[in-house]
Amino acid sequence: MPANTPKVSAAMQALIDKGLLDGLPRSFGAFCFDQMKDWDLLFPAERSYFERLFGLLDRSSGPVVERLFQPLRELEPKMGMNEKTWPRGQFTLEQVDFLNRNRYYPEWRAAVAQVFAQLDPALDAEAARNGHARLAIVIAPAQLPTDPGRMWTRFQGRGKRVEISGPESAEEFLPLLLTGEEQSRKAPTIGQLFAAGKKGGAYTSWIVEAGAGVSRLGSDSGGAADYGVVKCSYESLAQYRKRLMKDVQSVVDAQETPGPRQLSARLKQMKILTSEGDLARDPILAEFARAILLSGNGTLLINNTFVEWATVQSVRRARPSVTVVGFGIRNKVKPFSSLLIYADQEATNPIPSQMDTLGSYVDLEVFYQYIWQEFEKYAEYRNNTAYLFVGEGMEEMLAMAPPDFPLMTAAGPLTLPAVFGHLKDWLSV
């Protein structure tokens, strides 16, 4: 084992002590090792995955494991993988770069995919056996310049449009949908109810949103994880985002980092401060926020990109049972913005910010699909998840769910408290 063996759970340590990691092909082992090295910063679902993965390998017979990895094992020397290019337990951008530039990269990807194609059915069956009803609500902002007939165009032919009898006051739309009551009643949200229930607990219920309105709903809300609900808001992270942009620009200006690989190492040190958001209170969520904002895509700059990527990553890593996703309207891009990636657009250009409602509509049509696809990749969600696509204030919503989800058979128009009641029934909370 490498000297930098990660601190892991007792169950995992027992498997490592048996030499399980040492017997893996170099690239596969290095990847797993790297993923586990910050064990304390992994979500419970991630830890569980690695324990189940290595448990499965441990239970499998030697020849079966040998056959499983044989194509990868044969490929690695051809690719030039050795102790120098792939030190045991190291999987940094150097290794990613090595793979990307290697002429056998497509074959390597195929070999890794083949490994998981054989492992996943067994792991999925295990996840499915422990399955329970889940819920994902994806909310589009009220300002979108469209009607239900032109929403969710990428889901045409799927699900059921549910007619809604909306409230007289537009402000009560989301409170009624998510708590069943008007906002002033401060009733718990569906996410809070689930998190406090018997299948709940830490990281099982998430809010990811562009604004902060959904996070403010419910009873006794305020912290990042009241009732255990994770609240990940682009708006609430404004202070951290602005500091990150400034710090990254300083690093780039000072030319202290010769390239992206070195920059990446610097970015890992830019952690959220306690004064910059409630997520800082939980080390796992603090690292999650840092990773989301510095992942290299537009999460620092565009609210809806943040929402999409944070949702995808939360699903991939934490596997929440209840997720409420709230998109917003992004601003129009100001002149020269493409050049000033890490600059505060408000400060660099005195032209007032303008909402880009049409652009946001186009962006979201794609993101609905990407989010839904991400959920459906995992066995935990397939066949037991109800998806509600909602336009705030709209008279219809789209439900995609198993046939026994109550909204699939309910006759409309439904009031929002009635929808909330069905959601409670579905989750048994």
Binding site: D97, P260, I302, E308, W309, L340, A347
Partner: protein, 394 residues
């Protein structure tokens, strides 16, 4: 008696002065294959080549797929007049630098993704200049990203900088100017276009080495003619009626000025704006595609209007790479590293007087571009993985 057509005249004139253009020893050492290629090139009026990377990474689904045609009206119209390869495959590394270097060298490149290494082996620029004896103003790469500063010549010691292209990086120039404006807190910020222009000129005067210029009059002084040409491009850009603001628009204006002033025979125009897709906004990505379509159309219009190019030019337009498919695990259009079909399968549109209208399903590859361009220029390029596209070399 043989009728002396304009084409025949050009051919004869070209042959008669060839020894004055080509270095003597090189002319004497031409192989039979080179002579045939040169004769073919001389017969062909398309003796200038412009390679346009329709770039930053764009998928078929947003361009020549039925649902994408609305984003590229100019290219759709041009397709009717040109030759369209329905399948142009990038089998190499799916980074901008390696993909573009593969196009320029005719060999799949696996060098540093961020431009810290030059392309391995000679580029088309070097083959062209070394064999033709063309001067430094006859081969240009107008590129966007700073990493492309090393795109002008490769690592082969028999070639290299003496035969390389002039690389200009308009976006880098713009970036430095805009950052200066922001740093100084000028009134109006970057909305004050005159301020941006002043800084652009300032960067040209003071920091041109850092932004990619390789043309020096003597020592470290930027060649005056080149400088004036670039400044004209900047002024056109700043005063453009549509108030352009992107790096690609400046790339276009500078390319156009270079064409008007120097009429080089070989140009790489590297567009990049659609890589805004990494920001995660599908609408901004679509806008960038439409803008690049417009700029490519304007470039073709310049070819038609410019007597140095009209009826002499082959324009080869292709995305250097695609982007991940919507159903891919990576994150769809945001990225371009998955290696799936959506990343690799692109298209190529060839335009030019000598290009027959038509299209083919026959797959070609990015490395075929250098081989084809070499033949169009009458240059023999050895050891290329790519093959000439015979459809364009009738």
């Amino acid at each position: 008696m043989m009728r002396l057509t304009k084409r025949r005249f050009v051919q004869l004139a070209g042959l008669s002065i060839a020894h004055r253009i080509l270095p003597g020893h090189l002319f004497a050492q031409q192989t039979a294959a080179q002579q045939i290629a040169a004769q073919k090139a001389a017969r062909r009026p398309s003796n200038k080549v412009i390679i346009v990377t329709f770039g930053g990474g764009v998928r078929y689904s947003e361009t020549f797929a039925p649902e994408g045609l609305q984003n590229i009206p100019r290219l759709v119209a041009l397709r009717e007049k040109g030759y369209f390869f329905n399948s142009c495959v990038n089998s190499g590394v799916l980074s901008h630098f390696n993909s573009t270097a593969s196009i320029l060298t005719g060999n799949w490149q696996r060098v540093d993704d961020f431009g810290f290494q030059p392309p391995a082996g000679p580029t088309l620029f070097e083959y062209y200049r070394k064999q033709s004896g063309a001067g430094p103003l006859d081969a240009w790469a107008v590129a966007t990203n700073k990493s492309f500063a090393s795109m002008g010549w490769g690592s082969d010691r028999d070639f290299g900088q003496p035969y390389g292209a002039n690389v200009v990086l308009p976006k880098q120039l713009l970036l430095e100017a805009v950052q200066e404006v922001v740093k100084k807190g000028a009134e109006g910020g970057v909305a004050n276009r005159e301020d941006v222009l002043r800084r652009l000129e300032g960067v040209l005067n003071e920091g041109y080495e850092g932004v990619g210029w390789t043309i020096f009059q003597a020592g470290r002084k930027l060649d005056r003619q080149v400088r004036d040409t670039l400044v004209r491009g900047l002024v056109e850009y700043i005063n453009g009626p549509e108030a352009p603001t992107s790096g690609d628009e400046l790339t276009f204006f500078i390319t156009r000025e270079i064409m008007r002033e120097f009429a080089p025979r070989l140009i790489l125009v590297n567009f990049w704006d659609m890589d805004v897709a990494h920001w995660g906004s599908y609408s901004l990505y679509l806008n960038a595609i439409t803008k690049t379509d417009r700029l490519t159309g304007m470039l073709w219009e310049e070819v038609q209007a410019n007597q140095s190019y009209k009826d002499k030019t082959t324009l080869l337009v292709l995305p250097e790479l695609g982007r991940d498919g919507d159903k891919n695990t990576a994150n769809g259009f945001l990225n371009h590293r998955s290696g799936d079909a959506s990343c690799r399968n692109t298209w190529l549109l060839a335009m030019g007087t000598a290009v027959p209208p038509g299209q083919t399903e026959r797959p070609v590859h990015h490395v075929d571009v250098a081989a084809t361009a070499a033949e169009l220029l009458g240059v023999k390029a050895a050891g290329l993985a790519g093959l000439p596209m015979r459809e364009l070399l009738l």
